[in-house]
Symmetry: C2
Subunit: 321 residues, 2 copies
């Protein structure tokens, strides 16, 4: 059953249509609560709110992409915990008079992202709203949840994938141009690093965070939570090719551009110094993702960035600004 | 610890202020995910989205009441499952330029409702937004979750508390008047029936739902999910005194008014026919709530309402309309 039977009413017709579209990607939705299947490990939960005009614009993304991206942003928090996905709940604000198909496409995107991450849509809520919004609650399980708080002096600091692609799309749209496909994909269709997070947890990750606010901000959170200094050499940052081009257009160094870029949803992880480049290659072989050592954990506080031996001040990406 | 240490930035200052205000009502918030404490039973989850202009107006409620009511509406889904509260996550949309105190008061309301229900604030998210909104995800545990689907022909249909008080406030505000304190409290400060739900589960509840859409709608959901007819005698409905007065003003029978009133957050429950009035009195003694038998479960389908032997058509309260 994908969804419990509901009584009559237009709001419930809408829910029935959504459950029909989600098919096997929905499970147990439609009751007062979803009941999680039993499983091993700790239950971990997070939420992420995506607002039209703040986190996305409708002329940039399809409805499916709006739903996918909102769910992926929330699922990324499970990845950073080294957790497996159980499912998601999505609350959606729908402008009055919207075509039913827009809502169905958005929820299909949420369902696709949940399925990609190994989970299902467990429930949700709908409301009229002046603009589109999607708030996604995610539920996962982790045998050993990896927090931001376990980094120790001497650990290596690593990052998955490449940075700056999502910001390249954003900057290009804001200049009135059309992003190249790679940049657009990074912004519109980020892939939650669930398998990568689990592999890093299994490899002994001490502390982990997803790069949602930009390396400048997120390395600072990891440093603050662990009570350490996180030193990152900007020259070692894996820069997305699209970010190199976009950085040139706006006239700032590509590594700065990439380090300030939010919403890449890659993982920043502290691993014991013994974690080797051979292990990194094995990680890449199994996940298809680069894993790059970009710095070290030291005694002290704050995230510290250097380039060619000089200290560089970086600030995070503040959605609220 | 109420909240993990965060790096620098204005968005994170805001989160630090919230965690400071919540004090012991927050637990584990501030990381990528909250990690639930281990416990017995099944984990159950739900979400409820409250939008300014749809579910509340700022000239009707204080910010604390907006937060309380949003959390109580979500916690009511746990009550209907017979679950104990673990905690809540709150995503809040904040109009640009809002006084910091408004957000802190709203989150204090969320925290107070969570604490009243026996839980804590586990996390959340913030975004700029054209209007205030609060989406609350709730997490609970239940040894035997009570769904809407277990009602059997022959069961008695019961309801906790009194109905129509919340609608009395709404109708009075919409007429430009000020609701009396009892009606205002029903709308602004509903109490999630967590203990009542657990007591009813322990007493053998077969199916349960909270009265959020109005008895007309919610009895229909219970009937549809259970594959039965739910027959309710409107004359037996416990009507809130404030609803009697408000119904007179709008010129409809008080029992219709109460049966159509949404957002009372009382519990509608199917109990075995053997559940006695003595047991109902014991329930009232321990919870302080009336428990009234208002009908029977029969073979068939749909919710069916009668008054003085005549069939009455009732429709639910549709937030979306």
């Amino acid at each position: 059953m994908s969804g419990m039977a509901l009584g009559p009413g237009p709001e419930f017709d809408r829910i029935r249509h959504i459950l029909g579209r989600l098919g096997p990607h929905a499970e147990g939705a439609g009751g007062d609560c979803a009941i999680l299947p039993d499983g091993p490990g700790k239950v971990v939960v997070s939420v992420d709110l995506s607002m039209e005009g703040v986190h996305f614009r409708r002329d940039w993304l399809t409805m499916e992409e709006i739903g996918w991206r909102a769910a992926a942003a929330a699922l990324s928090d499970l990845a950073a915990e080294g957790a497996a996905t159980v499912g998601v709940l999505a609350s959606v604000g729908v402008p009055r008079g919207s075509p039913e198909e827009d809502l169905l496409a958005l929820m299909a995107g949420v369902g696709n992202a949940a399925a990609e991450a190994g989970g299902v849509v467990l429930g949700g809520d709908l409301s009229a709203s002046p603009q589109w919004l999607v708030d996604v609650a995610v539920i996962g399980r982790a045998e050993r949840p990896i927090t931001r708080a376990g980094a120790r002096p001497g650990d290596g600091v690593w990052v998955t994938g490449q940075l700056g692609g999502s910001r390249a799309a954003l900057v290009t749209w804001r200049r009135g141009s059309t992003p190249e496909p790679e940049a657009r994909r990074a912004f519109a269709h980020p892939v939650p690093r669930i398998e990568a997070g689990r592999a890093l947890a299994a490899a002994g990750a001490r502390a982990m965070i997803d790069v949602s606010d930009g390396l400048g901000g997120d390395a600072g959170h990891l440093a603050a939570a662990s009570g350490v200094a996180v030193e990152i050499d900007l020259a070692r940052i894996p820069v997305a090719p699209a970010a190199v081009a976009a950085a040139k257009e706006v006239g700032i160094p590509a590594v700065h551009f990439a380090a300030l870029g939010g919403e890449d949803y890659e993982l920043l992880v502290a691993l014991p110094d013994t974690f080797s480049t051979t292990q990194a290659r094995q990680f890449s072989g199994s996940t298809g993702l680069e894993l790059t050592r970009i710095g070290e954990v030291r005694s002290g506080d704050r995230a510290r960035f250097t380039l060619d031996g000089r200290a560089i001040a970086l600030e995070g990406y503040d959605h609220f600004a």
